[in-house]
């Protein structure tokens, strides 16, 4: 069993290596893409700073605290985007019928799809998120306790897991239809954008959606209440900031179950 997992990982390493070399063939374009991905988020950050220069605060949170949310969301979304690139380009696999190839290989389907694509340009997003997160931590002056020090990496890992699972769901839907990918963009990009602001500014139904359907609130906003020592205007029980890993794991397991259902449902486009 162990040796089989080892073999699968070795194959994945090779597949990923090939993808990386392929991407660097058009060098100028490659560099522009990394810079551009960095820049797209940078421009969004400038927009947020411009708004704060006029308003000062949103929902009782100042610019440093919102930057913390932003950094947390961007870092984890960028890493998830990098790891889950195979999912974001999955619709072409279905379109062209190449998923058949995945099915006949003796390696798990999830692992193959993950390894089939690794867009390094997404590093630009993650890098920018890390920089903002670092600056925000310096700016808000978090009171570091052992608990907070230990919990921050757990929160980041949970958020990455949740976003990867979200990309996986986006890909899974392609087993049924490839025309609705834009709806799922609203959840991935929309969700990570909404996580950049404190959850309590949204209307009740949207808050509920972000907590109990796509639990982004559990991995970004609620843990931040604890990390930044902010009061909870929603009046949720005191332990909810610590549910980030639980929520992410539950969501990822649901996504995996959905994936298996999708693979069973798959009918090839080829003849």
């Amino acid at each position: 069993m162990d040796s089989q997992i080892g073999a699968e990982l070795a194959i994945c390493r090779r597949l990923v290596g090939a993808r990386l070399r392929g991407q660097m063939q058009y060098r100028g374009s490659f560099i522009a893409q990394i810079a551009g991905n960095f820049g797209v988020n940078f421009v969004e950050l400038i927009a947020i700073l411009i708004l704060f220069s006029h308003f000062g605060a949103i929902g009782g949170w100042d610019v440093g605290e919102v930057a913390f949310l932003y950094g947390l969301s961007c870092t984890s979304f960028g890493i998830a985007h990098l790891l889950g690139s195979g999912f974001s380009s999955f619709s072409t696999l279905i379109h062209q019928g190449t998923f058949d190839r995945v099915l006949v290989r003796p390696v798990g389907t999830l692992l193959q799809v993950l390894a089939a694509e690794m867009q390094i340009r997404r590093l630009g997003e993650a890098l920018q998120g890390v920089l903002v997160l670092g600056a925000a931590i310096g700016f808000v002056g978090i009171e570091w306790t052992v608990g907070r020090l230990v919990y921050l990496p757990i929160v980041l890992a949970s958020a990455v897991l949740l976003y990867v699972a979200l990309f996986a769901i986006e890909a899974t839907v392609c087993f049924w239809t490839t025309q609705a990918t834009e709806v799922l963009n609203a959840f991935t990009y929309g969700g990570s954008d909404m996580a950049q602001y404190p959850l309590h500014i949204y209307d009740g139904w949207l808050r509920g959606l972000l907590l109990f359907v796509v639990p982004i609130g559990f991995v970004i906003y609620l843990p931040s209440l604890y990390l930044l020592d902010k009061p909870d205007p929603l009046g949720l029980p005191g332990f909810v900031p610590f549910l980030a890993p639980v929520a992410a794991l539950a969501f990822a397991m649901a996504a995996a179950a959905l994936w298996r259902l999708g693979v069973r449902h798959y009918r090839s486009t080829g003849s």
């Binding site: 058009y26 100028g28 374009s29 490659f30 560099i31 522009a32 893409q33 810079a35 551009g36 991905n37 820049g39 797209v40 940078f42 421009v43 969004e44 400038i46 927009a47 411009i50 708004l51 220069s53 006029h54 308003f55 000062g56 605060a57 949103i58 929902g59 009782g60 340009r121 239809t177 025309q179 609705a180 990918t181 834009e182 709806v183 963009n185 609203a186 929309g190 954008d193 909404m194 602001y197 500014i201 949204y202 209307d203 949207l206």
Partner: protein, 262 residues
């Protein structure tokens, strides 16, 4: 003229067939519209401010929803049909046909835009009006000016996208330039934050670029912040300038074009 009309008509009909994609797109527009509206509403509440940089809350919400409605109409992102035809070599047969190459693509784009007026702009704006308190123009003439201004915005946007696509004559891979173009457009068109909110020097930069003619200028016309004459002047200038620039670049490209195969 007949030819270009026919090209536009077919493009209109082709875009009309993407029903599921249209519904999916409208859903996304609604989600982002609600998101941005919630953020602005919270900002205005926190500051207990009535007017910020000449925008009241209903006016800023109007800006948000016009922006979401315009997105597909001006086709801001990811239009690479000309570039694709350059990469595949199909461009050669188009260049040999007895027609104006740029006008041909403009006709296709206008056909697409007429479809998106109906399937994307109107429904998205209607959703915004149903969900939020927006600021409405007082006179019919403002509506008319807005309609003209949006159509000019489509022309400016086409001129810019056509130029970008021509870069494929020189570049093998346009993904890099695409990413950069998207971020410049998002910011300097005023889509993310109204240009009136920018700090002084950044506003000056924005005013010298063509991108505000694609989003910000129509919004200003709708809200009565800019006279129709001044909007028309800015937008018409960029339509003509980009069209001429497109022609110059196209001529240079055709001169160096070498095609394999027969």
């Amino acid at each position: 003229m007949r030819l270009y009309f026919e090209v536009a008509r077919r493009s209109f009909q082709r875009h009309l067939t993407y029903r599921v994609a249209t519904l999916a797109g409208l859903f996304t527009n609604a989600v982002f519209g609600i998101f941005f509206s919630s953020v602005y509403r919270a900002f205005y509440q926190d500051g207990e401010r009535g007017v910020v940089a000449d925008f009241t809350l209903p006016e800023i919400l109007t800006f948000v929803w016009i922006g979401q409605s315009l997105l597909m109409l001006v086709y801001l992102w990811n239009w690479w049909e000309v570039a694709d035809s350059i990469r595949t070599g199909d461009v050669v047969s188009d260049l040999m046909k007895p027609m104006d190459f740029q006008l041909y693509w403009l006709s296709r784009d206008l056909g697409r835009a007429s479809c998106h007026w109906l399937t994307r702009f109107v429904p998205t704006f209607a959703m915004g009006a149903l969900l939020f308190d927006l600021a409405w123009p007082g006179t019919i003439s403002t509506w008319l000016a807005f309609f003209i201004s949006v159509n000019l915005a489509i022309l400016v946007s086409f001129g810019w996208r056509f130029l970008l696509n021509l870069s494929a004559f020189w570049l093998l891979d346009v993904r890099g330039i695409n990413t950069i173009a998207v971020l410049v457009l998002n910011f300097f068109s005023g889509l993310l934050v109204p240009i009136a909110f920018f700090p002084g020097w950044l506003r000056t930069v924005a005013e010298w670029l063509p991108f505000r003619a694609i989003v910000m200028v129509p919004v200003e016309v709708f809200l009565g912040q800019r006279t129709p004459q001044s909007a028309l002047l800015i937008q018409a200038f960029w339509v003509v300038a980009l069209r001429l620039l497109g022609q110059v670049v196209l001529n240079a490209a055709v001169r160096k074009l070498v095609v394999q195969g027969g």
